[in-house]
Amino acid sequence: MKKYTSIHDVADLDALVAEAKALKDNPFQYAQLGQQNISIVVPKSKPSYQIKYPTCCTVSWHELYCDEPE
């Protein structure tokens, strides 16, 4: 396994897009990867994070979506 990828060495883009499409059509199964238990360490200065993501909760991939602070 490579130590690092930022996937900006894009020679394999077609294959990567095909893989993403395949996953969209046939999503990860819990049986394959296990239940997505999320343990989150939050700073005391951000109590709202604790409300949204209590320790050891289960969240979906969608809930991990966020973007740059605007």
């Binding site: 490579k2 130590k3 990567l16 993403a20 499409k21 997505q36 360490v41 973007d67």
Partner: protein, 253 residues
């Protein structure tokens, strides 16, 4: 799959500089932190942002590369100071799903914003589009040229209307100046994406990475219109991340 999320430098202050005398507020060096976290995880994802004050350091992706150096497991960028590759992979997937011609014209358009934003999203988007089967155009006001390493295969124009002609996809994004580093040089509302601008295109789809400021970056009419695919685009973040993580776990990439 278990996921541990840590917010650094909000109580747990890490030192990244080599040889630092750590007698101030930073309790742990990245050397130990990376090594310890590596024992807890199979992959470490890092999201970090640029200072927008020190271009040289930002463009070295200093924090990301310090983590890569000292981690003992693979590291994936969830957005770094200068790139946002998982966003760009989701963008490319979205374009592939919505294109109606074999080689679509894709336009990255700068749009106004009240805050100074990083160049990571447009850098990565330019990098990906330059390697995809598209005709790629970037349009922005003078002074907003991206770093040339990302735009070598792009057509660049300062005329937004000209860029939009016959476009199949309009990707709106604000970024701060690379040349006058981190500065806001323009907030010209004429660059906002409107129905009149979209009418110049070939019924182009509208894209943005979200979150987006309504009636600053893009008008309500465009964002709520039938050609806006921003929600589908956001959904594809899931599958882009899954594809890359799956490949990393399989040892393919």
């Amino acid at each position: 799959m278990n996921c541990i999320v840590m917010n650094l430098n909000e109580g747990w202050n890490l030192e990244f500089e080599e040889g630092a005398v750590m007698n101030l507020d930073r309790q742990e060096h990245i050397r130990e932190a990376a090594a310890v976290i590596s024992q807890y995880a199979d992959i470490i994802g890092l999201r970090t942002f640029p200072s927008l004050t020190d271009r040289q350091k930002d463009y070295q992706d200093f924090i990301l590369h310090q983590l890569i150096q000292y981690a003992t497991v693979p590291v994936i960028s969830l957005e770094s100071a200068i790139r946002h590759p998982l966003q760009s992979l989701a963008d490319l997937l979205t374009i592939e799903e919505h294109k109606t011609v074999a080689r679509p014209k894709v336009v990255l358009s700068w749009a106004p914003h009240p805050r100074a934003l990083p160049q990571a999203v447009p850098n990565s988007f330019a990098e990906f589009m330059s390697n995809a089967k598209v005709d790629f155009v970037i349009t922005h006001p003078r002074g907003y040229e991206l770093a040339s390493e990302f735009t070598t295969r792009a057509t660049i124009t300062y005329n937004q209307d000209e860029a939009f002609e016959n476009a199949d996809f309009i990707y709106a994004k604000n970024w701060s100046s690379y040349q006058d580093y981190g500065k806001i040089l323009s907030q010209d509302p004429q660059w906002m994406i409107t129905p009149e601008k979209m009418a110049l295109t070939r019924h182009a789809k509208f894209m943005h990475c979200l979150p987006v400021r309504r009636n600053v970056i893009v008008s309500d009419a465009v964002l709520d219109g039938s050609d806006s695919i921003v929600i589908a685009q956001a959904n594809n973040r899931t599958y882009a991340a899954q594809a890359v993580l799956k490949r990393m776990l399989e040892g393919i990439v």
